[in-house]
């Protein structure tokens, strides 16, 4: 009797498709389009659409309503990765924040990148001209301070009125945020640069 029993072969289940994982339900993302990004979106629509639709295999559409434009993302049946949807959502969201396409595209490619934001008033309460001065300090003449920070820390910064958005890896964002906060608090750019330099050289030495 014992001999007749034989072990069953392990069942070989193929991995679930994202579509199936959610029991065949479609996953959805909605991203609101701010009024100041609508025109740039329309201009760069094809560049946004192509990587999402072709490479990420996520359906994307722009829903136009008066005074409320929304970008909708939906998974398809052949979406390879479940995380694609989130990546696309982040990508579109980054674009809506104000980042360039080339910068936002990195979000599609790399998982370690984040978008963080904070207010000037989170750092220091400034009013009227002090606020203006702080914003000016952050940007620098012709934006050179912002670019300097961006280049050294491999991040991207968007300053929008009192809000600041940062795109980059976690550590780099920290460095950039530190520099920006010191600028907000009032230190001149010349004082911020050496610290940046030191940090970057250290980072470079490490790797």
């Amino acid at each position: 009797m014992w001999g007749s029993l034989s072990l069953r072969t392990k069942p070989n289940f193929r991995p679930l498709k994202p579509h199936e994982m959610s029991d065949g339900q479609v996953q959805f993302r909605r991203i609101r389009v701010p009024w100041h990004r609508f025109t740039p979106l329309k201009k760069a629509w094809m560049e946004i659409f192509t990587p999402i639709h072709e490479q990420m295999k996520i359906d994307i559409r722009l829903k136009l309503k008066d005074r409320a434009n929304i970008v909708e993302l939906k998974t398809r049946a052949d979406t390879p990765d479940i995380r694609n949807l989130q990546r696309c959502a982040d990508f579109v969201g980054a674009f809506m924040c104000g980042f360039d396409l080339s910068d936002a595209i990195a979000l599609l490619r790399m998982d370690e990148l984040y978008v963080t934001s904070f207010c000037i008033k989170d750092v220091k309460t400034l009013r009227r001209e002090h606020l203006s001065h702080a914003i000016g300090r952050l940007a620098g003449r012709g934006g050179k301070t912002k670019f300097a920070i961006e280049n050294t820390t491999k991040t991207r910064i968007v300053i929008q009125n009192s809000d600041i958005y940062l795109l980059g890896s976690h550590a780099n964002i920290e460095i950039a945020m530190h520099s920006l906060c010191s600028l907000i608090r009032g230190s001149p750019a010349a004082k911020v640069y050496p610290k940046l330099r030191a940090v970057t050289t250290r980072a470079a030495e490490r790797f």
């Binding site: 990195a106 490619r109 670019f147 300097a148 280049n151 050289t201």
Partner: protein, 540 residues
């Protein structure tokens, strides 16, 4: 009474005259008595002419000859001096003698007593009268020449003769006298001769007073007393006490030149009441006032000096002006007084230059010249010495990056994995360029020396080095001798310190060496034995 005494006296005189001289040798009371009487008579007769004498009559009874003589002397001394002056006067002016006789009848009775009534300048008159009276008396006494009275009579005769030669009216007589006085004064002033005329009583008093004072002042007093007596005492023919020795005027005294040290008599009395030292000066000044007209040049000089000295001393005693005092605050000096005085103090700062047109013109000229030359004297930062290699500074790129963030990360990834050759950084490129240039340069330089500069490669070989001096190696003197090939000192001898030969050792050292050697040998020997024992032990 007087007549009887007079007659008695005259009789006595006669008697004395008649007696023989040898009788005088033996003492007889009669002669002495008569002599005394005669003396008294003469004394009494002369008494009117000597109002200042202390004796009214000669006190002869019961007195010694010496005492009598002293009395006579007291009376006669001033009289003699007066008579002498008169004689001198008559010597100079013989015509006065005749006038005297004329006047005699008119003014005979005048002025025997109460001479003080007359005026100052008329002292001579009294004296002249005196002289005349004496003359009269003297006529009586001419015959009697006694031993005691000899000198007196002679003097009287002299005076009488002189007095009798003048026939003068009273006025003239007075004038003559006046003249004489003046002449004598002049003489006295010039030659320092003491004056003969003095007031009697006052001078006597003064002399007595003088005795109370210091002896130094006595002479001065005399002089002053004389002068005072002259002016104040109008008593005529009064002869004060004068030092007979100085009559000739040979010895000029200090007071004659420099004025009396003491005050005059009346003033002295006044100041005595005050009794202060400063009054002496007033006395002196009074004296000076009198003497002002009659001074020598030397005296004037001295006077000037004295005044000057006084002034200077006075100035020294006073409080100094504020400029001469040391530190003076504003409160101690009068208001605005510092403005009037030329103050001199050090300025620690250079005074500011006065800007004139010339100055500005010169400056502008200089500037223009400099500009033309191009010599601005700019200050250049001194270049820091390169103590170490310049740090490679990673410059911050302040321009907007051309690559997007994705591209940056992609490039980074590619570099990490090594798929793509990393692009050289800016500094590396520069280095490469520099090295390329340098190599090119070196090539060109080497070409100059035909590439012969290259040194031979070093080949490590085994060589035997003999410790032979270099000279022995080569017979021909080498161009360069080096002992590099020779053995090093350590190779020659490896030891330490002061190594002695056998011959140099002392006895103790030799013993020590031997002892060390034995010890070593013993140790070795025993070590061998031990090892043998041990090994044998093991086997056993």
């Amino acid at each position: 009474m007087a007549a009887t005494t007079d007659s008695g006296g005259v009789a006595a005189l006669h008697r004395l005259k008649s007696t023989d001289p040898p009788l005088y040798l033996s003492p007889s009371p009669d002669l002495s008595h008569s002599a005394r009487l005669a003396c008294q008579h003469i004394f009494a007769s002369l008494r009117p002419f000597t109002p200042k004498s202390p004796f009214d009559r000669l006190l002869a009874d019961g007195f010694d000859s010496e005492q009598i003589w002293q009395q006579i002397d007291l009376q006669s001394q001033p009289l003699i001096s007066t008579l002498r002056c008169e004689v001198k006067f008559f010597e100079k002016h013989p015509e006065e003698i005749s006038k005297l006789f004329l006047k005699v009848s008119v003014g005979k009775k005048e002025g025997k007593d109460g001479k003080s009534e007359e005026l100052e300048g008329l002292e001579l008159d009294g004296e002249k009268d005196e002289g005349f009276d004496e003359l009269e008396d003297g006529d009586e006494g001419l015959e009697g020449s006694d031993d005691v009275d000899d000198e007196e009579e002679e003097r009287e005769n002299e005076e009488e003769s002189d007095g009798g030669g003048v026939d003068g009216v009273e006025d003239r007589f007075l004038k003559i006298r006046e003249l004489e006085e003046y002449l004598e004064d002049d003489e006295a002033r010039e030659y320092g001769i003491k004056k003969k005329e003095k007031g009697d009583g006052k001078v006597a008093k003064e002399s007595i007073k003088e005795d109370d004072d210091d002896e130094d002042e006595e002479d001065g007093e005399d002089d002053d007393g004389d002068e005072e007596g002259e002016e104040d005492d109008d008593e005529l023919g009064v002869l004060g006490l004068v030092d007979g020795d100085d009559e000739e005027g040979g010895d000029a005294r200090y007071e004659d030149f420099f004025g009396g040290k003491k005050k005059t008599g009346s003033q002295q009395k006044k100041t005595r009441h005050d009794s202060s030292a400063g009054d002496k000066q007033s006395g002196d000044m009074d004296f000076d006032d009198k003497k002002k007209e009659n001074r020598s040049t030397h005296e004037k000089q001295l006077e000037k000096q004295r005044l000057k000295i006084e002034e200077m001393e006075k100035a020294n005693m006073e409080v100094k002006t504020w400029t001469m005092q040391g530190e003076v605050t504003a409160a101690k000096r009068p208001k605005n007084s510092a403005l009037e005085v030329d103050l001199d103090f050090e300025h620690n700062v250079r005074p500011a230059p006065v800007i004139t047109e010339e100055v500005t013109a010169s400056l502008e000229e200089l500037i223009q010249k400099r500009i033309l030359e191009g010599r601005f004297d700019d200050v250049f930062r001194a270049p820091t010495l390169p103590n170490k290699a310049p740090k490679e500074r990673k410059e911050l790129d302040e321009n907007k990056s051309n690559k997007g963030l994705a591209e940056v990360y992609a490039d980074e990834y590619a570099q990490k994995t090594g798929l793509v050759s990393s692009a050289l950084t800016f500094s590396d490129e520069q280095k490469k360029e520099a090295s390329v240039l340098f190599k090119k340069l070196c090539l060109k330089l080497d070409a100059l020396s035909h590439f012969h500069f290259t040194p031979k490669p070093v080949i490590e070989d085994m060589t035997i080095q003999a410790n032979v001096p270099a000279l022995a190696m080569e017979e021909i003197a080498p161009l360069a001798v080096s002992d590099a090939a020779m053995l090093a000192p350590e190779e020659v001898f490896a030891g330490k310190g002061d190594v002695k030969e056998e011959a140099e050792l002392t006895q103790a050292e030799r013993k020590r060496r031997r002892a060390n050697k034995k010890r070593k040998y013993k140790d070795e020997y025993h070590a061998c034995d031990r090892s043998f024992d041990e090994s044998s032990g093991l086997n056993q």
